[in-house]
Amino acid sequence: MFDFESYHKAESVDEAIALLAQNPKSIPLAGGTDVLVRLHQHHQDYRHVVDIHGLKELKEISKNPNGVIRIGSGVTFTTLTEHPLITGNIPVLAQGASSVGGPQVRNVGTVGGNICNGAPSADSAAPLLILNATVVLKGTQGQREIPLHEFYQGPGKVDRMESEILTSIVIAPENYQCWFAKYHKYAMRDAMDIATIGCAGACNIEGGLVNQLRLAYTVAGPTPLRCWKTEQIAKGAKADESLLELVKSSVLKDLRPRDSWRASKDFRQHVIQTLAQRVLQAILNQCGEVKP
């Protein structure tokens, strides 16, 4: 039994925005896999619900002639895992999506919910960060588009105004064409687990040198984080095993892993460094610059 105070089923994004604006205490419910857990715990902030589950306008995945990929916020992890536009162009996001929970959660959980929930562990976050994704928000004040890394503001906190709905996530062609990428989720179990550390990396390599490196982590700070300093250092570095050492020695400077009962700080730091190497090795293997 859930202790709802109010519940509205929105028939469209615009109606959802209007409903949210009417009641500042209300929150959107998409797949509900985060919201229902809170309701189960009788959480005070989750008692007014605007249901956007199943809205068609949020479920589309498209690629325009310029190569811009647009993913509706209501797309489920299962769809992300299987959709040819995702697996064919940005398989790293499919890797992230397929690592979520179990089949039931993937069938209902949405990428929009994953991002808006603001969890430092969100499995779609690290892949989307290295894809330089932007998020599109629509509210009573109109529509705006901001980079994902700016959308994240703190643990459980995102830059969403009360009336806003995240409508889609956008990935520009220059962020996936000519890139090799990989996501690795490190967890205590191989299913039904949140990441101890998640790591996504992408490399753009020219003539044996790193043109650009992108590296992002989950659970290595209050929000999912990009490794800006390390990315700078890696610019122009040799794309071989020396890169692994270079990144390993730098990556901790970009991150702030916590010491908690779930995992100690030194263990997380060790995993962060190990994953940097494993993810980069996998990327180098992919682009054939380094023989396995």
Binding site: M1, H42, R189, D190, A191, M192, W261, R262, T274
Partner: protein
């Protein structure tokens, strides 16, 4: 012939189609829900409790606290009553407490019209606590100035010590090597799919009916009677289908409370069901043990002495208390019975959830220590791990040193050999270079166990079976033993069919126990039912058969001694193709002939006066990714000497389940308690890492079928044993791969990280 065949489970179709009804599937008009108020602190006294606001909330039928419950303490462990007061369980529990002894202790209870109202009512109860120092670490519990969890207990429940098998000192002196180790095992939880749930009502003003997910309906009835000072004969306990128990329902947890509440509230039906978070703290857990082990060994590898000193922590309330460590210590002696054993064991209290029975009953902990030490010994002597165990393993005719009784069937040596061959031990051993280098290293491990098939002579072992011949020639079997998923109904039907000479399909097992109806049996625990209840079933079946044949004699005028039953027909024993009449015709005559007969039934109630050790081992081949701190099991086998296997398929299922549980305890699971505050961190399925299907490797099994003469079909225990050896086998394989001995559980990535780092591998 039904015994030895992989017949389909009696309850299989009902369970997979969702037709099987569990406690929560029943409801009654006007049923109310009860919910506990649980203590937020691990240790403290309630100095003020005010329930007035909660009582005034609409939809609240009652709020009860410590002040309202009977003041007699009772014991909750699901043991049969002991006529010897010295052997009884510790009675340290009240229905509700004014002293919180673990985070989650039951301070008050509300009865309301629905869950939501219950939740709101709980939030309206005001409680003030006086904080006491939580005692979690062994040294804190046993400190001189430690506050007592229970008055006059000194925080110690019981201790005992003994030496058996010969002159300890001499054997130590004569040993060329003394090997020692200290081992720590963790708190794990059963995680059965169906949480604890019970409801109760009164169907007149005299009698309380309790429907409960319990392994022990008859024992529950007695304990409710003790807890409420209410006549036993006026309590009826019904057990529907059960979604697993693993020992956690061999304890009386909710039944006294629902009985109390319905009694207080005029007999209305009241349900008390725990959610997962409550179930993980408010029921029982496995005892964490601290074990010091020493072994004396000759240069040739003969094990002269095993000496262990174990401290078992039972948590907030005694529950099964000291029985756990003492049973486990005793059962382990059957493995290497030619050695001298010295044992010292203590059981203490601590401010965390009560530890009780859990599959293996202390043996997983003790065997983890002993079999790890055996590995260390083999390595020190440079003897192959398999050979070392073969040299010392039990042989038929060896004497168990505690009971001074000869061991009749013992297939441990064959189990070890079979395991060695299945995993290709010798060949793999020859190719593994030592020491290994590189990030990924491989290892082989083995561990052995011994166990018993019930609790005799420590406890009474009663069993009963009633058989009724139906009009259509089929039979109904009623037993007090409980099907809890392990498959006991199925094997009882097989035994009945075998002895009676009818087909398995013609035996219907009444699966739901009802203490008003089903005959007495103490229930599902100690891997006892196939062995103990099987004896009653066999005797009831042969009695029924005698009665049927006698009646056939009455009808036909033939000599019953020349008749037999074959596939549902009365046949001439010497020419079995000749059917004299069908069982159906015979039964119709018995039921309806105006001048003779009557319903043909048999009923046997007996006690097992024997016990039989069962044996086996786990062998494992694994690899470790050192930087990732992760173990990957390549191959793992459990080989069992459980006597004659009644049903190979369900036996294999039982082994797979036990191995998965053993792997969970080895590599994943721990209920985390903050040693300073007693806070429980992870009482949920996200943070308590019970392995998923993705985490469990392919599981292999094998049998060595001895024929146990004390059992009518030659069978021995198989329920608990599969869980006993995966952890030490895995520990030994990790040692093989890395040279690092991990003497604590679980060996999860966090533990491996610490050990690898300390050893300079990272």
């Amino acid at each position: 012939m039904a015994v030895g065949k992989s017949v389909q489970r009696k309850d299989g179709v009902a369970k997979v189609t969702g037709k099987a009804r569990y406690t929560d599937d029943f409801s009654m008009p006007g049923m109310r829900v009860a919910k506990y108020l649980r203590s937020p602190i691990a240790h403290g006294r309630v100095v003020r409790i005010d329930t007035t606001r909660a009582e005034k909330l609409p939809g609240v039928d009652g709020v009860f606290t410590f002040h309202d419950v009977p003041k007699n303490t009772f014991a909750t462990a699901g043991h049969p009553f002991s006529l010897d007061p010295e052997h009884g369980d510790v009675a340290d529990r009240l229905l509700l407490t004014d002293c919180a002894r673990f985070q989650g202790d039951e301070v008050a209870v509300v009865v309301t019209r629905d869950d939501m109202t219950a939740h709101k009512a709980l939030s309206l109860i005001e409680v003030e606590y006086e904080n006491l120092k939580p005692l979690i670490r062994m040294q804190d519990v046993l400190a001189h100035d430690a506050p007592e969890l229970h008055k006059r207990s000194r925080n110690l429940i019981k201790e005992h010590a003994y030496t058996v098998g010969g002159d300890y000192k001499k054997a130590i002196e004569e040993s060329d090597h003394l090997i020692e180790g200290v081992f720590e095992t963790q708190i794990v939880q059963h995680c059965h799919l169906e949480n604890h749930s019970s409801y109760a009502y009164m169907d007149d003003m005299d009698r309380i009916v309790i429907v409960s997910s319990t392994q022990i309906p008859h024992i529950a009835r007695r304990i409710v009677s003790e807890a409420l000072n209410f006549p036993l004969s006026r309590i009826r306990v019904i057990k529907p289908h059960i979604g697993g128990g693993f020992g956690n329902k061999q304890d009386v947890i909710l039944e006294p409370m629902v009985a109390f509440l319905t009694l207080k509230l005029g007999g209305i039906p009241i349900r008390l069901k725990l959610n997962r978070e409550e179930c993980m703290v408010g029921t029982r857990v496995r005892h964490p043990l601290h074990i010091q082990v020493k072994a004396g060994i000759s240069q040739e590898g003969n094990l002269n002495v095993i000496d262990y000193d174990a401290v078992s922590n039972t948590g907030a309330y005694a529950s099964h208390g000291h029985s756990i460590v003492s049973a486990a210590a005793a059962k382990t002696h059957y493995m290497y019975p030619r050695a001298i054993y010295r044992c010292r064991a203590r059981t203490i209290y601590g401010n965390f959830p009560s530890a009780g029975a859990m599959r293996g009953y202390g043996s997983p902990q003790i065997i983890f220590a002993v079999e790890s030490l055996m590995e260390d010994a083999a390595r020190k002597l440079g003897i192959d791990s398999v050979d070392f165990r073969l040299k010392n393993a039990v042989k038929p005719g060896d004497i168990n040193q505690i009971g001074k009784r000869p061991i009749v069937t013992a297939g441990l040596i064959e189990c070890i050999e079979k395991g060695r061959d299945l995993i290709d031990w010798d060949k793999k051993r020859a190719t593994l270079q030592t020491p290994q280098t590189g990030p990924v290293r491989k290892g082989l491990g083995i561990a052995c166990f011994s166990y018993l098939s019930g609790t005799y002579p420590s406890c009474v072992e009663p069993a009963s079976a009633r058989l009724i011949l139906n009009q259509d020639g089929s039979v109904n079997l009623l037993v007090g033993a409980t099907e809890i998923g392990q498959g006991s109904d199925t094997v009882f039907a097989q035994m009945t069919a075998e002895t009676l000479g009818t087909s398995y399909e013609k035996v219907h097992v009444v699966s739901n126990q009802d203490t008003d109806v089903t005959p007495f049996d103490s229930g599902a625990y100690a891997s006892r039912q196939t062995y103990v209840t099987g004896q009653a079933v066999m005797r009831a079946a042969s009695e029924l058969k005698d009665k049927i044949l006698a009646y056939a004699g009455v009808i036909t005028g033939m000599n019953p001694g020349e008749l037999d039953i074959d596939e549902g027909n009365i046949v001439i024993a010497k020419s079995r193709q000749t059917a004299v009449m069908s069982l159906k015709d015979l039964s119709m005559d018995a039921y309806y002939n105006k001048n003779r007969g009557g319903q043909i039934t048999s009923e046997v109630s007996c006690k097992a006066l024997t016990n039989a050790p069962s044996y086996g081992c786990t062998v494992v081949d694994l690899e470790i990714d050192i930087p990732m701190c992760k173990v990957k099991i390549n191959e793992i086998y459990n080989i069992h000497d459980a006597g004659v296997i009644i049903n190979p398929l369900t036996s294999e299922g039982q082994i797979h389940g036990g191995m998965a549980m053993g792997i969970g305890a080895a590599l994943f699971e721990v209920l985390m308690v903050d040693p300073d505050s007693g806070r429980i961190y992870n009482n949920n399925m996200l943070d308590y890492k019970v392995p998923t299907i993705m985490d469990i490797p392919g599981l292999g099994s094998g049998f060595v079928q001895t024929h146990e003469p004390t059992h009518p079909y030659g069978s021995k225990s198989l329920g608990e044993p599969p869980v006993l050896t995966p952890a030490p086998a895995i520990r030994n394989a990790i040692l093989d791969a890395t040279g690092i001995a991990i003497n604590e559980l679980p060996m999860n990535p966090k533990t491996l990280f610490t050990h690898f780092k300390n050893a300079g591998l990272l």
